[in-house]
């Protein structure tokens, strides 16, 4: 188990493959926000942000940042053609109304049933819900991208979340620095592992029991 973990950019690349032509996509803070750089050629993706914008593109160039043009991560956006603006009521009507095809979120814990916990570390005693509960319940497909274990080495993929939930049974897919996992009715299915990682290696860093896909393969980009 000395094989390397995938860097954040590679996790984002793998997630980006899931984004289909015409999809409306909302990217969370952190690794998720990197995905837009790696979408395969020829696919039109509509990026939505709960800051009140649809169809944003690249970040603003240095020196051209505009405080009135940000995404929900607080990044400055470049003005692009076809961009539209709306208020928070409309932004979340889009999310809750089922008009977002894919959201990519970070997580503290994901359970074997696809429960998501990503808003509060209990020891802090207070946390930020932000838009995560709305996105988790409203988007048609929820992809979690995260490190497989936390900084203390604890598995983040667990039988049952011990952290406060963001949304039960909402996660469809988990892409980590060592594995690609889907959430099925029968449980968590391991589809891909990072180069040099066996299914057993991944299972050793995972609390929940993984079902090995018959076509298990390496993460490919």
């Amino acid at each position: 188990m000395v094989a390397e973990r995938l860097p954040r950019e590679v996790i984002a690349m793998r997630v980006a493959q899931e984004l289909q032509d015409g999809d409306v996509v909302n990217l969370g803070i952190g690794i998720p926000s990197l995905c837009s750089q790696f979408v395969p050629e020829g696919r039109t993706i509509f990026y939505h942000s709960e800051s009140g914008v649809l169809n944003y593109g690249p970040m603003a160039e240095e020196g051209k940042e505009d405080q009135d043009l940000i995404n929900a991560s607080g990044q400055f956006l470049a003005p692009v053609k076809g961009m539209s603006f709306f208020d928070s009521g409309a932004a979340f009507a889009m999310i809750r109304g089922g008009h977002i095809d894919v959201t990519v979120l970070g997580a503290l814990q994901v359970s074997s049933k696809g429960d998501l916990a990503n808003w509060m570390i209990p020891s802090r005693g207070i946390g930020n819900v932000g838009g995560a509960m709305d996105l988790a319940v409203g988007a048609k497909k929820v992809i979690v991208s995260m490190e497989h274990i936390d900084r203390e080495g604890n598995p983040k993929i667990v039988d049952d979340c011990t952290f406060p939930l963001t949304c039960p049974a909402c996660v469809d897919m988990i892409v980590t620095d060592i594995a690609v996992i889907s959430v099925q009715n029968e449980g968590l299915v391991l589809h891909e592992t990072a180069p040099g990682w066996s299914a057993a290696d991944v299972q050793a860093e995972t609390d929940a029991k993984l079902i090995i896909a018959s076509d298990l393969k390496n993460v490919s980009l």
Partner: protein
């Protein structure tokens, strides 16, 4: 009928103790009524309930802030002991090592918090402005959000009943207003301002420019004049 005020101080002068206010900006200084917030700090009204997306974030985190700038947010009202309660979705800093004024006051037991998912917060405010006292939403099912609230199933999916939010005053940041009160926003600065302006008994708006009626094209008006009570030019 005159909606134009000559100073921020004058525009907030009548806000009483124990008032409920909506104040925003999504999180960064864009869309935050920094001048009205400062005037309210100087005015001194206390025991305020503030409805806001964050509880004052940009001043400690630099969220959405241009390099070298030091934004004002509702943290200065917390620091000044004017805030009794905050209703927000993102009340603390993402980084525990740089806590917000609110978080420190909260841990000292000086302020109360009602934590609300962001979409539910926006919809509750929209409902307050639209005469809808309560609505069902799927957001928060299976979490702390439903505690003490009615839940109900529609087509096999669970929803929770949430109630409207209204305010005595809203402190709004716009881009342009005409003297009638028609208002336009710039870019993503509409955010919570766009719903808050509808849900307060008195909406006070600071804008870059106050112009004559007709100088804002009909199709560039985001908020019709009936929602705007007071306007101050920055």
């Amino acid at each position: 009928m005159n909606k134009v005020y000559s100073s921020f101080n004058e525009a907030v002068a009548d806000i009483p103790d124990s008032a409920t206010l909506m104040i925003d900006g999504f999180a960064g200084p864009g869309g935050t009524s920094q001048n009205l917030i400062r005037a309210l700090r100087d005015q001194g009204a206390s025991d305020l309930t503030i409805i806001s997306n964050t509880a004052g974030l940009a001043s400690v985190s630099g969220f959405g802030t241009l390099p070298g700038q030091k934004p004002i947010d509702i943290g200065i009202l917390v620091d000044n002991g004017q805030v009794g309660k905050v209703i927000a979705s993102f009340p603390v800093s993402p980084s525990p090592s740089r806590p917000t004024s609110f978080e420190k006051a909260y841990h000292r037991g000086e302020v109360e918090l009602e934590l609300v998912p962001q979409g539910t917060l926006a919809e509750r405010i929209r409902a307050g402005g639209a005469g809808i006292p309560a609505f069902f939403t799927p957001t928060g099912i299976g979490t702390f959000v439903t505690e003490g609230k009615e839940t109900r199933s529609y087509d096999g999916k669970e929803y929770v009943l949430e109630t409207a939010l209204k305010a005595d005053y809203a402190l709004i940041r716009g881009y342009m207003a005409d003297t009638m009160g028609n208002l336009s926003f710039r870019g993503t600065s509409m955010n919570f301002n766009g719903v808050m302006v509808t849900a307060a008994a008195i909406s006070i708006v600071e804008v870059d420019k106050i112009v004559d009626v007709g100088e804002i094209d009909s199709y560039r008006i985001d908020t019709p004049a009936l929602y705007v009570n007071r306007i101050v030019e920055v």
